[in-house]
Assembly symmetry: C2
Homo-oligomer: 214 residues x 2
Amino acid sequence: MTVSDLDRLIQLLARLPGLGPRSARRAALKMIQKPETLMLPLAAALEQAAENIRACSTCGNLDTADPCAICRDPARDRTLVCVVEDVGDLWALERSGAFKGLYHVLGGTLSALDGRGPEQLNVAALVERVQAGADAETGAGRPDAAIGAGRPREVILALSATVDGQTTAHYIAERLAGLGVTISRLAHGVPVGGELDYLDDGTLSAALKARRPA
Amino acid sequence: MTVSDLDRLIQLLARLPGLGPRSARRAALKMIQKPETLMLPLAAALEQAAENIRACSTCGNLDTADPCAICRDPARDRTLVCVVEDVGDLWALERSGAFKGLYHVLGGTLSALDGRGPEQLNVAALVERVQAGADAETGAGRPDAAIGAGRPREVILALSATVDGQTTAHYIAERLAGLGVTISRLAHGVPVGGELDYLDDGTLSAALKARRPA
């Protein structure tokens, strides 16, 4: 077979997370069978997204506008900044509806294995953001910091409970020390709906240590 | 968030087999982070495939040419026609390299539950193909049957070993009876590399019944 168009499509699909070579073939097949309702709309949606969606220069969220909808929303609490690893985590928190502050997307975690240092992450911008808030309060405010108005008073480190995530949290906490913000982390504990029997020892002992009056 | 471009992309991705809403979000995220190397090439590949790839009017295979590369290949054995459910099965047989004849893609199986009857499948064309071969031999050949030259002598029913697949095989065998072709099916048995311990009873008893001298 010399179906190079098809082979190229399958190769590109196989690079998406969650699709291996076999499922990429199945996906390509399904799309070819539905060119009008699936294949061409998807091609158009991809082009449109590539053209319109960009990272917010304030927080790193993805949106068609810069600053993003969250940073522009006047109803959100500007004193809270939640630091997340990537936009997927931001979406997860937004879906939960439990957080009404602003975000800061790092773009990953520090990782000695993968060779990711602080320069590869969006850390300097976070320090600057917190610093600008502090300056604004003491009168040394920068005129272009209007979006940052409403000084951040608490930075919530919502990073993964992995070694890399916790290393990153520790590093950020050190960088922000002395800038006059409270630094907090997500609680460890039993997932809602989780059965104790299936929980790992680390989670169980963390949940036990952080026990609260019933 | 009012990122309708992004939402639309995620919705379309979630319709691909193997991608749920969560993995569609991850895939969209990865693509947005690599617009130049993944997103735009994928959009272009989709458009190109939608434009160029069509079903072969002889066998139903997907290719940029009609008749497809397999039907045109003079090296393939035109006396063998392998009937498969869909193009994915054809690809699987091609990957195995074990078959050098022609194919006929049904486009599914008969299914009482899904309301798929013989009219929804590519069966009439198969009967016509076999019939045309028989006619050609007896001198009643149709001039447009040049591609079919080299009369089919054996039709291999390579259908799934499910109830629907076997019903379809049975139906096709009946339709082809009396047209002077041998009709065969794939052997049941132990998959190569398979451990007996993990095999279901049906496969085991089929493998035992079809045992051969060592």
